[in-house]
Every structure is written in structure tokens, then in C-alpha cells.
Symmetry: C2
Subunit: 211 residues, 2 copies
């Protein structure tokens, strides 16, 4: 049995979801509350496997409650639920360690599936939320347009060493080439990157994900 704690300020929604979860097989609803202020205390008391937390809550926001719960008991799975697909909220929730994020859904079986997913160590994201996350992800990590900067394998290797903070001498050693050759490579790298110092090169390398 998966023990679940529900936080949801909307009375109607809370009661109908409670009803559904209480009768769902494999799930034990330990409690349902309209306020997250006492969330940490309640988590300590009931030791739920999964917490279902609404983002919009009076007094203490769902995100803050999430942070508090994770700080107090980081193994407790917390799944966020919301009606709004707000980029900032999604971002904040994930950074705070949410184990799932679902849009309020008329189909209650979605909740059950999600609870099972997170209980089993996975994460559950509603499709539209998943899209948001993937987009943010790509936006951050996808190679920038500046991929036309072509570094040779050796140059990339040297640049990688520079990113690690190694000096010419150390790089020479690590790559098993002479100090002078390192010098040559670095000169070429600076030329290609249009920089003229190691720090600048490192910054561009990281920014452009050249290494």
C-alpha cells in the first residue's frame, strides 16, 4: 500500500479526489488538507510515501511547502499538481526537487498512475509539462548556432584541459606533447575563438559547448 497525503485548497476537488484515491487499489490516503502551512509536521506524523501538492495554496505556496518537505525528509516523493502551466512555477518546482508535475485532470486514474510512477522511483510529467521541461532543457543545452567554429580534435582536447584549469605545462604532460606544441595549439584556438586569453577561451568554450 502506498501511503498518500493530499494538499489541495479547493474543497470540492479535494473531497472528490480523496474519495477516488481512498478507494483506489494499492493506495492508502492518509489525509487530505486545505493548507500546507503544517505540511512538514504532517509529513513527519504520517510519513507518507507520496505527497500530492497543489501549487496554488493559501498562506504557504505549494512550492515553498515542497521545499520545506524536501528539506525535512528528502526521500518523501512530492508530486505537484496545478491548473496553470506556468513556466516559472514548473521551473521552480523542478529545481526544488519535485518528483512529478501534473496538470489537474478530469481523469482521476491519471493520479493513480502518477502516484505509482513516483512511488517506484520514477517521475511523472503531464505531456504538456514534459514539453515545457524538454524545451527549457534544449534551450539551455542545445549547441548554440556558433557550431560553425571548427576545432580540430587536438584543439578540443587542449581546450578541455584549459577548462579544467590546467597550465601549459600540465596540458603538455596530460596530452603527452611538448610545451611548445601546447603553445601552438592554444594560439590556434585563440585565433579561432577570437579571444586572447585563457579565461576568455574557457568562458566561450563553456558557453558554446565546444568541448
Amino acid at each position: 500500500m502506498i501511503s498518500v497525503l493530499l494538499f489541495e485548497d479547493n474543497k470540492n476537488f479535494r473531497e472528490s479526489l480523496s474519495l477516488y484515491l481512498a478507494s483506489a487499489e494499492g493506495i492508502w490516503l492518509s489525509g487530505a488538507f486545505a493548507d500546507a502551512t503544517e505540511a512538514v509536521k504532517l509529513v513527519r506524523k504520517y510519513k507518507p510515501d507520496v505527497v500530492l501538492m497543489d501549487i496554488q495554496m493559501p498562506h504557504l505556496s505549494g512550492i515553498d511547502a515542497l521545499r520545506a518537505i524536501k528539506a525535512a525528509s528528502k526521500d518523501t516523493k512530492v508530486m505537484m499538481q496545478t491548473v496553470f502551466e506556468d513556466d516559472d512555477k514548473v521551473f521552480a518546482a523542478i529545481c526544488a526537487g519535485a518528483n512529478g508535475y501534473i496538470l489537474k485532470n478530469p481523469r482521476p486514474d491519471t493520479y493513480v498512475q502518477a502516484i505509482f510512477d513516483v512511488y517506484n522511483g520514477g517521475s511523472h510529467l503531464s505531456p504538456s509539462i514534459a514539453t515545457k521541461v524538454l524545451t527549457m532543457f534544449q534551450h539551455q543545452f542545445a549547441k548554440s548556432e556558433q557550431t560553425y567554429i571548427q576545432l580540430t580534435p587536438r584543439e578540443k582536447e587542449v581546450l578541455q584541459c584549459m577548462v579544467k584549469g590546467m597550465s601549459y605545462k600540465m596540458i603538455a604532460d596530460a596530452c603527452d606533447i611538448s610545451f611548445n606544441t601546447v603553445h601552438t595549439h592554444i594560439k590556434k584556438i585563440y585565433e579561432k575563438l577570437h579571444v586572447n586569453s585563457a579565461p576568455e577561451a574557457v568562458v566561450k568554450a563553456l558557453e558554446w559547448k565546444l568541448v
Copy 2:
């Protein structure tokens, strides 16, 4: 009807999944292929709504095929499937614009659900993949624990300049302090960060989000 194209090198799996998808309501399986080399050509020909692409493929890898497809027809939804939960692969696939990522699953209805999800503009991630993505996400964006390194405002300012690739002289100018003072601040920064060169300091600054 959602038009689907399947790429999967395992004959058995391809055929059984084909069979299932062909009979699934709302889905029209346009074709199933064992090799992704011709993927772009096939996509152009069949104009599928959703492509199901195995990561492990002979000749052209699923990731490369994904890139090719997205380059040729960026609105075609591509869902990756794999048996391995390889961080690098997940990362690469998402950066290349995958619309979903599912682990090969004995339950074929998972595929149908996932196809519907991505067709409707959402994304579908298997729970364990979702966990990976969220973890990578947090790792990148969540403030690092190493915030206990206390830099004074001036030191942060100087470090920021260093990240911008400025030399001592330029920093002195920018902060309107003398070259010697910049030197002093940087000595202090190196001490606090346990480094002894500008590139190292820059890397740590970026890693730890100190600036």
C-alpha cells in the same frame, strides 16, 4: 488518424509492435523499417505525424536519424525508444529535439498513449527517463550547495569581470580601482576558491554559480 512510421532493427519486436499499432484505434501505421539510413527520405514520402525511432540502430544511429529528420521536417514528432537508460543518449536525444523518450515496454498500450501525447503537442517520458531529465535539470539550475563560500561584494564583482574575460588592467578600469587593488582582490578570491589561476577561478565561478 495519426500516421506513424516505425524504425526498429529487432525483427521480432518490430513485427509485434507493428501488428499492435496497425490494429490500434486512431493510429495508422504507414511503415516499419529496420534501418534508419533512409529515414529522411521515408519521412518525406510518408509524411508521418509521429516517428517511433529506436536508439540502437545499425548504420545510422537513432540519434543521428532524429537530427536528420528534425533538420528536414522539424514539425514531425519523433519519439525515441530504447532498452538502455543511458544518460548521454537521453541528453543527446533531448537536445536534438526528441518529442518523447520511452523505455521499451512489454505493454504496447504505453506506445499508443505516448503516440497520442506527442501527436497532441505534448511530450511523453517514461517515469525513469523523466527522473533522469529532472535530475539533470536540477543539477544544472539548482543553486549549488557550495554557497557557503563567502565572497565579498567587491570580490564577486571582480570575479564577474574575470568571467567576462577581462584582464587585471581592464578590471581596474571597469571597477574604477587601481591595478594593485584588483591584484589584492584576486589573491583573496584565489585563496577562498582554492585555485591559483584565472581559468580555474572562472570555471569554479560558473560551476558554482558564484557570480
